[in-house]
């Protein structure tokens, strides 16, 4: 592991990798803000009061767990996912950042997502 020692890094080098927050960066961010606001306003102005007509897709899966298994099961899965997410930094303890070096961890999360997706699909059937 080689760490960059701040004092050895020349000013030019650090300028290459980063740039000042003021004024350009903040101006661009404000630009993005206006772009998004614009999109939402125009979408609404096209007189479509709601973007989607169906119940929010993220809850269909939970409702199906409640229907198919039991209310308690639905609640337990929700709590389990929240706890799993909260515990994530302590479960995945390696210092690796790149997805390719965290394959097992990705597999576990994919399994959880697949489980949820399966119930969502069943909810629509």
């Amino acid at each position: 592991m080689t760490e960059v020692e701040p004092e050895k890094e020349s000013k030019a080098e650090s300028e290459e990798r980063s740039r000042p927050f003021l004024p350009n960066h903040i101006m661009e961010e404000i630009g993005v803000v206006f772009l998004i606001t614009g999109i939402i306003l125009i979408a609404a102005a096209l007189r479509r009061p709601e973007p989607f007509g169906f119940p929010n897709i993220f809850f269909v899966g939970v409702l199906e767990m409640i229907d198919l298994v039991s209310p308690l099961f639905g609640a337990l899965v929700v709590f389990a996912v929240v706890i799993l997410l909260l515990a994530m930094p302590f479960l995945d303890r390696s210092e690796e950042q790149h997805p390719r070096k965290r394959l097992i961890f990705f597999a576990v999360i994919l399994a959880v997502v697949a489980f949820w997706t399966a119930f969502t699909v069943m909810g629509f059937l």
Binding site: S14, E16, R17, S18, R19, P20, F21, L22, H25, E28, E29, V32, V33, I36, T37, I40, L41, A43, A44, A45, R47, R48, P49, E50, P51, F52, P55, N56, F58, F59, V62, L63, I66, P71, L72, G74, A75, V78, V82, L85, L86, M88, P89, F90, D92, S94, E95, E96, Q97, H98, P99, R102, I109
Partner: protein, 234 residues
């Protein structure tokens, strides 16, 4: 513009500019913001953070601010009662100036926020940005996600239409049993299967508890992001 007219213009504007600088310095001096301004002026942003995937938290924030603004507007006209909900929404959509747009923008922005926050979580997950030292940023984020979903569910109850039934069924099915907790179960009235109770509880959550809670957690989120900076590139 030739030199002379620019000169005239800037001369005319000079007092205004001086007034602006003076008032700005006055505010900074009186409020003790010097340190904050100095820090902000010397702050830099890493280039990789300009990638759109790193802007999703910002998009979520903008969507939230739009929701807050349009929500303030709507709350002035909405009536949280079984008979009043549909009637007041009808009035908002047809009689109140800008009411239709406020309601429509509110529901569009809600969808933008949910999609943006999920993509934000995906980005943070893929880049492994929840690791040391950003564990608390992540954990506070998970709570923000829970708040966001509760906003959506309780929001669905308010119009008292078909989707309200769906929201009430989901919430009472999964969390209705929490109301049985002795003494404090009433806090979970939003998860009641009685329409009136679910409406009052949802309204209470949607316009008082959740806004305060999410703002507190957002402040912590932003404080931590500023403290640790954005995580390194892959």
């Amino acid at each position: 513009m030739d030199k002379e007219s620019t000169g005239a213009l800037s001369k005319a504007l000079l007092p205004l500019g001086k007034m602006f600088t003076k008032s700005r310095d006055w505010i900074i001096a009186r409020s003790g913001l010097e340190r904050f301004m100095e820090e902000t002026e010397s702050k830099t942003v890493p280039k990789h953070a300009l990638n759109p995937a790193y802007c999703l938290g910002g998009v979520t924030l903008v969507a939230f601010l739009i929701l807050a603004l349009t929500g303030f507007f709507l709350a002035n006209y909405y009536e949280p009662s079984e008979g009043g909900a549909q009637r007041s929404i009808q009035i908002i959509s047809t009689e109140i100036h800008f009411g239709f747009y406020a309601k429509s923008i509110h529901s569009w922005a809600a969808n933008v926020m949910v999609i943006a926050v999920l993509l934000h979580v995906l980005r943070v997950f893929i880049t492994g940005s929840y690791k040391n030292p950003r564990e608390l940023t992540w954990m506070g984020g998970v709570i923000l996600l829970v708040f966001t979903f509760l906003f959506v569910l309780t929001g669905y109850v308010l119009p008292m239409d078909e989707r309200s039934d769906f929201a009430i069924t989901s919430m009472s099915g999964a969390f209705g049993w929490l109301r049985g907790i002795p003494h404090v179960g009433g806090v979970f009235n939003w998860a009641s299967d009685t329409v009136g109770e679910a409406l009052t509880g949802s309204y209470w959550m949607h316009v008082t508890v959740l806004p305060i809670a999410i703002i507190l957690f957002l402040l912590v989120h932003f404080y931590l992001i500023r403290k640790h900076g954005i995580s390194g590139p892959l």
